[in-house]
């Protein structure tokens, strides 16, 4: 029941979003760092790009999440 409650699902999805963002950003950063490390002679911008990519992905997911919620799904699909 708790998940079906809009507020809670909202909060949940929000939390998920945040986690998502963090995780993906971190992942992006890591990948960027790796790329910069190994391919791009230690420039800083790949890290940020990677992080940015991650965040963008996370955002997309978030958006999907939110939208899905609106359709009245009991269990908004996790990532």
């Amino acid at each position: 029941m708790s998940s079906s409650c809009s507020d809670d699902s909202n909060r949940e999805s929000l939390g998920r979003c945040v986690c998502d963002v963090i995780v993906k950003a971190a992942g992006g950063m890591v990948i960027g760092a790796g790329v910069s490390l190994w391919f791009l002679r230690r420039r800083r911008w790949p890290v940020w790009m990677g992080a940015g990519f991650g965040v963008g992905l996370a955002c997309r997911n978030c958006e999907k999440d939110m939208k899905a919620l609106k359709w009245g799904m009991l269990h908004p699909p996790s990532e």
Binding site: C5, D7, N10, C62, M66
Partner: protein, 738 residues
């Protein structure tokens, strides 16, 4: 912030976007900044980045002015180009208002609402102070048990038993002084007092009186002496007479009883008699002598003049002398008899003594003086034999004497025949008479014995008869008396019994009457009670219905406090079942119960307070998603919406008084926040219907969000309505019994 912004100029776009999103995600509601500036800030994201600034000083101003310039440019352009304006309004939430305000089409801050800090309210509604009800148990003070043991102690002073003074049984011993059986000497001679010899005239020494010379004196003297003599003679006679009688009596009695002492008395009497006689004789002789002397004197004194007197005196003297002589003769006669009696009793005594001697000879040691002769049978027989032999001997003797006597008498008479012997004849006759008398006496004795026996027997028989008769008589009388008494007693008893019975019957009758009355009264009361019971039953039923409805209503209204609203769902099956049970035969109730939604029955209904709790979160989410349309939107819109919700304050008066007063207004002009405010207002005041109505005006994502809540509210309202109906019905049906 601006420093950061300045620094951001040097960074790449990604970094910048990263920071801004991070900034945008701050939900610190403490920030109360003008929406326009924020939106301006937000707007800065969508607009192309400000021109690259190299100079720090100019950069500051540039940063400050650039957004403002951009916004101004946009607004200006929107004023002139409607399409552009439309696009801007569409893309940027809240641009409409800004443009409008900027272009002075509308007054600023319209519809700004103030927010109430619902976080606190949320917390507040969560808890219920459980007021511990103090159960003051009042200890019942029981009355003193026994109410003061006034149990009457048994009076200590016991009824003083009067110590029965055992009255000394004044059983005085019957001073039965043992009646000393005075051994009455039955043979006590109650004889006349022993005739004491009369005062023996003292033989006065005869002093020869000087003979009186006078005739009269002589006469007197003679008379005196004669009298004296006569008196003496008379006295002697009486004495003798008395003595004789005494003797006879005593002897007879003595013979009968056998007392020895009598003899002594007799002897004494005899001596007394002798003395008396002698004295009397002497006195008489003296008197006679005196008379003679007087006579001589008289003759001497006789003269011619007192010849008559003398003659008279002499005559008198003669008379007196004759008298004296007569008396003397009488005395002598008595003396004879006395001598005879004397002899008689001496003979008797002799015989007695002889008898005593004989008895003593036969039965040595036996005393006749004992009253009772304890002789053995043989002794008695012997005695009788002895006595009888004596008797026979005497009888023979007597016969012999009689015959001899007769013979002699005859001979004597014959010898002396020819005499005018009346005396002898008389003597002979007497003798014969005596013989005859003796014979007769014997016969008489026998007869007497016989008669005695007969009479005794007769007497006994008669006595017996009499006794029997008497006894019978007594018996009869007693029986009769008994019967009489019993009859009378019985009658009395019956009377008393009848009275008591009547009394008792009367009492019974009264009691019966009372009982009957009580019975009737009780029956009446019972009927009353029956009616009452029926009425109460129906009343109770209605009460039960009401109570069940109340239960339903309560469960619809609120549930257990302190529990999260998620857990407050309670299937109402029980309550509904209870109502159905209580209200059998009631159509309205049945219809209402049927109309209840199934989901409510099975799943249960969120009670009001749960819904209220839930509404808070619904409202919050709805606020956050105010800008988001129904189908969902891109993430930025979401973000914008969040940001907006942060800046939108809660209003102090969520509803204007006009609306409250039901003035018509255009409800399509209300935006999400307005609607939510109003809904919140009504939810706060438990007017879920109106809240529902307002929430129905929601559009977009908030509508979706509130949809579920609305559904629940609808359910709850339905149940409430049903419960209300039932309750009013129950109350109405209960009123009948008031």
């Amino acid at each position: 912030m601006y420093r950061l912004a300045v620094r951001d100029q040097c960074k790449c776009a990604l970094q910048r976007s990263l920071q801004t999103t991070t900034n945008g995600r701050h939900y610190s509601s403490s920030r109360r900044e003008e929406g326009s500036s924020r939106s301006g800030q937000g707007n800065g994201q969508g607009l192309p980045p400000p021109p690259h600034m190299r100079e720090a000083g100019f950069g500051k101003y540039l940063v400050l002015i650039a957004p403002l310039a951009a916004v101004g440019g946009v607004i200006t352009y929107a004023k002139y180009d409607d399409d552009f304006r439309k696009m801007v309004e569409k893309k940027v939430p809240g641009a409409e208002a800004v443009i409008k305000v900027a272009l002075q089409e509308e007054p600023p801050f319209k519809g700004i609402t103030q927010s109430v800090n619902d976080q606190f309210e949320k917390v507040k509604s969560g808890y219920d102070t459980v007021s511990s009800s103090v159960n003051s148990v009042t200890s019942k003070v029981t009355g003193l048990f026994g109410g003061g043991s006034n149990s009457d102690k048994p009076k200590s002073p016991e009824p003083k038993v009067q110590p029965l003074k055992s009255e000394a049984p004044e059983a005085k011993k019957p001073a039965a002084a043992p009646a000393a059986k005075i051994e009455t000497k039955t043979a006590k001679p109650d004889a006349a007092p022993a005739p004491q010899p009369a005062a023996a005239p003292k033989p006065a020494p005869k002093v020869p009186l000087p003979l009186p010379k006078e005739v009269v004196e002589l006469e007197k003297a003679i008379e005196l002496s004669a009298k004296l003599a006569v008196k003496e003679y008379n006295a002697a006679i009486t004495v003798l007479k008395g003595f004789n009688e005494d003797v006879r009596r005593v002897v007879d009695r003595a013979v009968e009883t056998g007392e020895n002492t009598l003899w002594t008395t007799l002897r004494n009497r005899a001596s007394a008699r002798d003395t008396a006689v002698s004295t009397a004789e002497r006195a008489a002789r003296e008197a006679q002598e005196k008379i003679v002397a007087c006579e001589i004197a008289l003759s001497e004194v006789a003269t011619a003049e007192n010849h008559k007197k003398v003659e008279s005196v002499r005559n008198k003297i003669k008379k007196l002398v004759d008298h004296i002589a007569n008396v003397k003769d009488e005395l002598y006669r008595h003396k004879d008899t006395a001598s005879v009696s004397d002899k008689y009793w001496r003979n008797v005594e002799q015989a007695r003594n002889y008898f005593i001697d004989e008895i003593e000879a036969i039965f040595p040691g036996l005393k006749l003086s004992d009253k009772k002769l304890n002789l053995s049978k043989e002794d008695l027989d012997l005695f009788i034999l002895h006595a009888y032999t004596h008797v026979l001997a005497y009888q023979k003797e007597l016969q012999r004497l009689q015959t001899d006597g007769e013979l002699r008498l005859k001979r004597a008479i014959d010898s002396v025949r020819g005499d005018n012997d009346s005396e002898a004849l008389r003597a002979q006759l007497d003798y014969h008479l005596e013989a005859e008398r003796r014979k007769l006496a014997v016969e008489n004795q026998k007869k007497i014995f016989h008669i005695n026996a007969e009479s005794d027997k007769q007497l006994r028989m008669q006595l017996k008869k009499q006794a029997e008769a008497h006894a019978d008589h007594i018996k009869d009388i007693v029986a009769q008396r008994e019967s009489d008494l019993t009859r009378s007693f019985k009658r009395e008893l019956d009377d008393k019994l009848a009275i008591e019975k009547a009394n008792y019957k009367l009492q019974l009758a009264t009691m019966l009457g009372k009982l009957r009355g009580m019975d009737a009264a009780l029956a009446e009361i019972e009927d009353e009670f029956q009616d009452r019971a029926d009425a109460e039953r129906t009343a109770n039923q209605s009460q039960a219905l009401w109570a069940a409805c109340q239960a339903l209503w309560a469960s619809v209204r609120n549930a257990t406090p302190g529990v999260s609203y998620k857990d407050k769902l309670r299937p109402l099956q029980n309550e509904i079942k209870a109502i159905a049970k209580v209200s059998q035969g009631d159509d309205l109730v049945a219809a209402v119960l049927d109309s209840m939604p199934k989901e409510a029955r099975e799943r249960g209904v969120y009670p009001e307070d749960a819904l209220r709790e839930r509404f808070l979160s619904v409202e919050r989410v709805a606020r956050r998603l105010a800008l988001v349309p129904e189908e969902g939107a891109s993430l930025p819109i979401y973000v914008l919406s969040y940001v907006q919700s942060i800046f939108i304050m809660r209003a102090d008066n969520p509803i204007s008084t006009d609306e409250l007063n039901d003035k018509p207004f255009d409800y399509s002009k209300l935006d999400t926040y307005d609607i939510l405010n109003r809904a919140r207002y009504y939810v706060d005041r438990s007017n879920f219907l109106l809240a529902l109505k307002y929430l129905n005006l929601l559009q977009g994502a908030p509508r979706k969000v509130a949809g579920e809540w609305m559904k629940e509210v609808r359910l709850m309202l339905e149940m409430q309505q049903a419960a209300n109906t039932l309750m009013s019905h129950a109350a109405a049906s209960g009123v009948v019994y008031l």
